[in-house]
């Protein structure tokens, strides 16, 4: 397959269609409109597929819920303020154990915030986001190619574990153009889940619900979810070690921030500084053991995020005191340059006496 030049937003749309996504529901918000528009143009008129520009993000996520109940692969996308509105629906999806893929091309917050790329939704994404005792799988892509690959992976994961998947991108990833290659063709006959509600034909009627008047029943549901969360932690964590072998200082960063940090690290290496990077790809489950393993060789970490320090909590929890963690963050949708990060890296490297 030849490489195509696409925006991250369009690449997610194309990858979703190739993963057999049959229904997409969205509501306009910058910086993810290209994705909604891609689905309008390329999914809506496909036989057996559905595209609706919903009246709100609340409606869109509930359409996703309905489509998932009916057994088809389904997706919605938005950006930060819209993702807040979807949280009610995500909580219901989690409770009903319904698969769905939710894309957040996040922007600066709080409030209406800015339309520029930011990573301020890490907490919201990795801590469940809505009400109740649940988690979602959270994927943090760092390039347009990875957006495409992880979109496909997201549909596989959500169907396998019956847990909604959040793809936590950002406005920059969504809108930048890069060459991308798709490794799958759209299936001739998209899959329909076995446990779909499609009418009680040849079987007893079924219902999908969350409400119970008997708390122990709900506790069972919580336990069942948590057993699956443990499986995820064991089997599905993804991460990247970049030049960590001999590193004396390891940068921890995800998504677009990791991309910026990589530029800084290359330059630092050229300057003779031994810097590496640990990049979580699954933000939840967080690759904590894999990070902890690195602390055997180095004790110095620099957490870099485009927010005021959110993933750093997982970094510190994972290291369990085994590392000295500094922080550099730029919130609000300000996009730092590699040379800014290089300056921070260099300062900390010398301050900590690592030369």
């Amino acid at each position: 397959m030849p490489k195509m030049l696409m925006t991250g937003n369009a690449a997610v749309g194309e990858a979703a269609i190739r993963a057999g996504c049959q229904s997409y529901y969205g509501y306009p918000i910058t910086p993810q409109n290209e994705l909604t528009e891609y689905m309008a143009a390329n999914l809506g008129r496909r036989p057996g597929c559905a595209f609706v520009q919903a009246e709100s993000e609340i409606a869109a996520i509930n359409m996703v819920y309905g489509a998932s109940v009916a057994g088809v692969r389904t997706m919605t996308s938005s950006s930060s303020p819209g993702i807040s509105l979807k949280q009610e629906g995500i909580s219901y999806l989690a409770a009903c154990q319904l698969p769905a893929v939710i894309v957040n091309m996040s922007r600066g917050g709080p409030g209406l915030g800015s339309i520029s790329a930011a990573q301020s939704d890490y907490f919201q994404s990795t801590r469940g986001g809505g009400h109740g005792d649940y988690r979602t799988i959270v994927l943090g892509p760092g390039s347009v190619q990875e957006l495409a690959d992880l979109t496909h992976h997201a549909f596989e994961l959500t169907d396998k574990y019956l847990i909604p998947v959040i793809i936590l991108g950002d406005g920059m990833l969504g809108q930048m153009m890069e060459p991308v290659e798709f490794s799958h063709e759209a299936p001739e006959v998209p899959p329909v889940r076995q446990d779909a509600l499609r009418g009680a034909k040849g079987r007893p009627s079924r219902f999908v619900r969350t409400f119970t008047s008997n708390p122990p029943d709900l506790e069972e549901v919580n336990w069942s979810l948590f057993r699956r969360y443990q499986l995820l932690q064991k089997n599905e964590v993804m991460w990247e070690n970049y030049m960590t072998e001999d590193a004396r200082l390891i940068v921890t960063a995800f998504g677009i921030a990791a991309r910026i940090a990589k530029g800084a690290i290359k330059q630092a290496r050229a300057n003779g500084l031994k810097i590496g990077m640990f990049r979580p790809i699954t933000l939840w489950p967080f690759p904590g053991e894999q990070l902890k393993a690195l602390s055997k060789k180095t004790k110095f970490f620099l957490d870099f995020e485009m927010n005021m320090g959110q993933m750093i909590e997982d970094v510190k929890l994972s290291l369990e005191g085994a590392g000295d963690v500094s922080f550099h963050g730029r919130p609000g949708g300000v996009i730092p340059t590699p040379s800014e990060v290089l300056r921070v890296i260099t300062r900390i490297y010398y301050q900590k006496g690592l030369s």
Binding site: E55, Y65, L197, A200
Partner: protein, 251 residues
């Protein structure tokens, strides 16, 4: 011996949890009769709400999925678009459809989603203990309008059926009541037509049903039935509000 009365096949053999004299039980039964008569039990998917009817899936013997409060029309949209062969109905209270779910309802109707809405107007929030609903009568005392609903402060009873009749996508809107055998028969006819419209692919149908809530109205069941005639149906007149199908009610 000729059988003259039996439980509808689509109604499970379960004891209703509804209060004595509650309209929900009657509406469940006649909806199930309609599902039986149209032969659609094996492709019907119901969407009940949070509200007194939250456990409707214990009674309807069809596939059902709980919706979040007010989101029934959006959930139904998702199901119907994913699986157009299904017959999808929402079952919604007045708090659900006319307050928190107004947006989803209006836009589903405007898109002409080919679904059926059964809208239970009992003028209160039943499940949460009798708070004021958007459909509460002026002057009516509820737990959150303890001095009687004052239009200047709390707004007026909202007429969702008339509003929904305004949009292009709705094909049929009728208001009925379940407070007498004659009215119950009319209500059933309307429900049947609303389902038939969906089978015929005509778009959004809604049946609003004035439904007694003796418990929160603090009335006997008999008095509640009378009150529907004397008070409620004056504010919410019964009858067909919109019908673009060119067909008379089924049978």
């Amino acid at each position: 011996m000729k059988k003259v009365f039996t439980r509808p096949v689509s109604l499970k053999n379960a004891v209703f949890h509804y209060c004595p004299g509650c309209g929900h039980s009657i509406i469940h039964r006649i909806t199930c009769e309609v599902i039986d008569e149209l032969g659609i039990q094996d492709r019907t998917i119901g969407v009940p709400p949070p509200g007194c009817s939250v456990f409707a899936y214990y009674y309807f013997d069809v596939d059902m999925v709980e919706s979040a409060h007010g989101r029934g029309a959006a959930v139904a949209t998702g199901i119907k678009r994913a699986y157009p062969e299904s017959i999808v109905f929402t079952y919604q209270g007045d708090g659900d459809l006319a307050a928190i779910g107004t947006t989803e309802t209006l836009h589903a109707a405007n898109r002409g989603e080919n679904i059926t809405a059964i809208f239970i107007n009992n003028a209160v929030y039943g499940m949460t203990g009798g708070q004021m609903a958007p459909t509460t009568m002026l002057g009516m005392k509820t737990t959150t309008s303890p001095f009687g609903r004052d239009g200047k402060l709390e707004g007026h009873p909202i007429k969702m059926s008339e509003i929904l009749a305004q949009v292009e996508g709705s094909c049929y809107v009728e208001r009925v009541a379940v407070n007498s055998p004659a009215n119950i028969r009319k209500a059933k006819k309307a429900i049947k037509k609303a389902f038939q419209n969906q089978i015929d692919g005509r778009g959004y149908s809604l049946v609003e049903i004035l439904s007694p809530c003796p418990t929160n109205w603090k009335m006997s069941s008999v008095r509640a039935w009378e009150w529907v005639d004397e008070v409620m149906s004056r504010e919410f007149p019964l009858g067909v509000i919109k019908d673009t199908t060119g067909k008379r009610s089924a049978d």
